[in-house]
Symmetry: C2
Subunit: 489 residues, 2 copies
Amino acid sequence: VLTSGLAVSPGAAVGRVVLSADDAVAQASTGDVILVTTETSPDDLHGIIAACGLLTSRGGLVSHAAIVARGMGKPAVCGAAAIEVDVEGGVLRVGDVTVRAGAVISIDGTTGDVVVGAVPVTVATEPPELDVLLGWADELRQLEVRANADTPQDAARARAAGAGGIGLCRTEHQFLGDRLPLIRRVILADGSASNAAALAELHAVQVADFTGILEAMDGLPVTIRLLDPPLHEFLPDVGELAVADAAGELDDDRRAMLQLARQWAEHNPMLGIRGVRLGLLRPDIYRTQVRALAEAAAARLEAGGDPRVEVMIPLVSISAELADVLADVREVFDEVSAASGISIPWLAGTMIETPRAALVANELAELAQFISFGTNDLTQMTYGLSRDDVESALMPTYELRGILDADPFATVDTIGVGELMRLAIESARETRPDVEVGVCGEHGGDPDSIAFFARLGIDYVSCSPARIRTARLAAAHAALGEQVTDASR
Amino acid sequence: VLTSGLAVSPGAAVGRVVLSADDAVAQASTGDVILVTTETSPDDLHGIIAACGLLTSRGGLVSHAAIVARGMGKPAVCGAAAIEVDVEGGVLRVGDVTVRAGAVISIDGTTGDVVVGAVPVTVATEPPELDVLLGWADELRQLEVRANADTPQDAARARAAGAGGIGLCRTEHQFLGDRLPLIRRVILADGSASNAAALAELHAVQVADFTGILEAMDGLPVTIRLLDPPLHEFLPDVGELAVADAAGELDDDRRAMLQLARQWAEHNPMLGIRGVRLGLLRPDIYRTQVRALAEAAAARLEAGGDPRVEVMIPLVSISAELADVLADVREVFDEVSAASGISIPWLAGTMIETPRAALVANELAELAQFISFGTNDLTQMTYGLSRDDVESALMPTYELRGILDADPFATVDTIGVGELMRLAIESARETRPDVEVGVCGEHGGDPDSIAFFARLGIDYVSCSPARIRTARLAAAHAALGEQVTDASR
């Protein structure tokens, strides 16, 4: 074993080391490769798709690499801090050991181990008993289990694993990889002409996206979250462009891009123009997404389908934000209904991601038919801790010194975050007794967290397709635990 | 009137336009100058000191420029977004109007107006009636008013304005300007030798700082907050260094600096390694500060003084963080007491800046004799909004559309942030009925916020020296308001 990192996406992979996304694509055709980088960004998506496993020296359980790997069901080890990736030298180093690009390594996404050479692997198969067991679990559990799925393929895979719908479709994830330039054009559009062209393209691709997802999940709820890009993940890197500019390497287009990227650059993107804030500054983007969604639903209805659309507004902290955006959403649905002559049913909802949203849940429930806790962000903001920045440096120190029993980004903090959730559910149900309550953060697939959510009385959890079966079982455990508690009273 | 911005620091200034801190220093000797920039950073402090007024195109009420200007009592207008600062061209532009560097402008920090040319100004004097009025206010008010003061000069000014102590001494502010290289060396120290040298220097300057402050506030409480640097404000700019590196302009020292700055660089510094987190990763820094403080207090006691030391730990979100750091603080005080033979009284306390700290205030109050709400950060994290990023782009849109009635960074949000404060005070007093409760954010000087804090039952507010008199009056208004309410029952 060369070193260990965080086990962020289960399964084992064996392959040759490649040190860039482009190399992964170039070399994958001649055999399996493992992409080894410091960390990944949406720009690396083609390489992640090409690789059979991911290994990063930075980042934690909810880093970009980890979330994308889990979403794809690919083995991954992240935050293996002992690894130094030397792209120019074409090697990775761990202490005195050097491994060249092209050499074979093995990674174990269940233990976090990184091994030099090829370790024999077997393909896991699901025994038929698993379906019997999960059938029993489904009979017992009170919690519905939905999937976080962003594409028709994810949706189909989630449905096969027993998901009862989509609890979170992150529309910004539909623009990773080769569609990244489009979403950049949409966000950076500065004049009406380029704006209109970018929005028209956005509309066209979204109609196709939504049609495919609604078809794959026909008859089951599909929660579409309107665009919520942390700008720094979607805009070009100002630092890189500035260096290229200083070296005189930028053409006019890229220099204009640098100018716009500077204008939108944020000191703290996680606390910046995200979600509903972008939606209010640029109402054209949300209106375009909603029009595509309404048209896709109308077409599905016309074709005899049963689309169950739930529209979710992200990053709300003030009830007036939600009211303003929902007025627009309603108007667009009404327009499409009028134009098509088809009545399109839909539900309005919001995420509870900021502490303030939890504290004003009574106001939000006047406007929203469902609320869904985004526990990643809620944890981040309740602690005032950015998962990107602290998981590698601070968390290990805190766990070592016993300051934290567990990583709160993996298992929900029942005392702080949990108390905000309890207050929010209580006040939301006072306003609207039948408000639907979900959880769609990474915690939605964690058994310990699921047990806590069941006690809070939520209606459903939503997790990545790979964790659906785990969540079904954990929900049954939670229900059994409650019965035992009741019986012992 | 050329344009308007946010009125962030009251008073009027007339002077020649300078576009950089260095120019301000160079030209201030030949007459008043007004520093006009996009925004300011600690690197600009010498220019801010030299200028008679500040004008920025970005940033809001709690931007670096605004806080420093208020601290110095200098007129400032920030976030005048219509202004384009063209440093290379040596001009500033507002639409079609161009003002050259060297031209005279006037700014009004009470209205936010920016005027071309010299507007006649008068020096405000305080009529003797003011002291009579404030004397009446002091008899009525229930709230103690303390000052945010970081230097002996600030402390003396605050005491003259009627402050009953220091509620917040931000030790990181003691390292702005020409001491910035020292604090950089302390934070970036990577080996024991350079580390020890930097810490020795830190110790020496802090003994002098604390001695001066304790002397100026003899007999009154002095709350010393241990180092809480948002790293991005204190470390060199990675982008600038990278551009210089690409141009081959860095020597070995500055290249090493770039390497270290990259290592510490954060995606979201406001949610990164701040306050107690740095204190726990680098216990040597806090131990050095506390040793300096204890020695300064011992020396004051020996000289017959009456130092009233309160040690405050910033950015706590987990009670074990506070327990760990306070154990160290206690150990150092005991060591200094033993070595000097002088018993040094001190109080242990913490800030409530993260939503989670508010939610676990009962646990914190077991360890802390006082708690102080840092309402700037608490607002930021409760909304999930970075004040640096949203004040110029988002806030004006939100106020225009009626989504926000008031800027929550100026007047406290009673519904969300206020509810967290109420919950925290209630649970802290359950654990420790005599826990001292303060507020030391910018809201501590805002009359509307003070009225709300009085209703919450806090013990004191702490604000910048320039707002002490306002706060004394507002606290009396709040007490009168309560009496009227009581009488009408």
